[in-house]
Amino acid sequence: MAIDGALIAGLQAQVGVEHVELLGEISAEMIGRYAAAVGESNPLYSDAAYARSRGYADVVAPPNLLAAVINWGPGAPYDRLRDDGTEAEKHLPGVPSQGVRVMGGGEEMTFTRPVVAGAVVTRSTVLAEVGERSGTQGPMLVLRYSDHYRDGAGAVLMESVRTVLLR
């Protein structure tokens, strides 16, 4: 599939449609592993006693943890992975899983509340905007997805606006 009228119409039909996914509980272990992988030494991410001394109930996640996790589930069976190792059935709302080249065009994250271990997080994703641009290698679509991450009480923890380019 190329960038054509059918693809654009399909994307425009998705604009404003909310997709909600329960991501699960953010554990202290998940936070600790993420912080270690980044190379963080901030005790807020690994030392619960220190975190409590700073007024938090438990360790706190580094700012972009929620946005960085690629897959919140167990992962697909091997016969449902693409050649590049990613999941064939995990794709952006409105974007076909094959036939278009998907590129990252940047991300704007707003950190509204700290993510404390034990939080049960839900993500809502909305395709906010579909734009067209003529690139040097033909037409290109510029998509903006808005993700809101909320805790169990419905309070927004973080918002991320991702720009995705399709060619």
Binding site: A37, V38, P62, V69, G85, F111
Partner: protein
């Protein structure tokens, strides 16, 4: 520069903050993929990366973001907070590359006892100085840090 040294440095529009240097490695990139359940071969399979036109496996875009976030939270210190971070990855970095992050204060807005500081950030490759990521961050710090209390340090 330690967090306490950051907190003694002046907060003025146009000031360049102390740089942070981070040596990445294949082990780090592997651990980051594992911690984020990222199965993309571009981050651990050199043959695949070469077939895609890269010399070796790549640092994840979110790991770039995490390093920039760390730079901001280190500068913000215990009493500060990272409010927002917007970034754009412009060039790839190979696992093993040293990444250098530096920020420039582009705006300061006072709101009572807190100040909101805008940082323009750039992350460059140590090997050739090319810019991998440009970013803008909003960081909230105690307004007392604006008072020019340089703590007896130079400048």
């Amino acid at each position: 520069m330690s967090a306490s040294e950051h907190e003694r440095a002046p907060v003025d529009v146009g000031s360049t903050l102390a740089a942070m240097s981070q040596a990445t490695s294949k082990v780090q990139v592997f651990r980051y993929s594992a911690a984020t359940w990222n199965t993309h071969r571009i981050h651990y399979d050199k043959d695949y990366a070469v077939a895609e036109g890269y010399p070796d496996v790549l640092v994840q875009s979110h790991l770039h973001g995490a390093l920039l976030a760390r730079y901001c939270t280190d500068w913000a210190g215990e009493e500060g907070r990272l409010i927002s971070l917007g970034l754009r990855v412009r060039r790839f970095a190979l696992a093993g590359e040293t990444l250098n992050v530096v920020g420039v204060i582009s705006a300061v807005a006072l709101a009572g006892e807190r100040a909101r500081v805008t940082l323009d950030l750039a992350e460059t490759r140590g090997s050739d100085g090319e810019v991998c990521v440009t970013a803008s961050a909003s960081v909230e710090i105690p307004a007392s840090r604006l008072a020019g209390d340089a703590g007896g340090g130079p400048g």
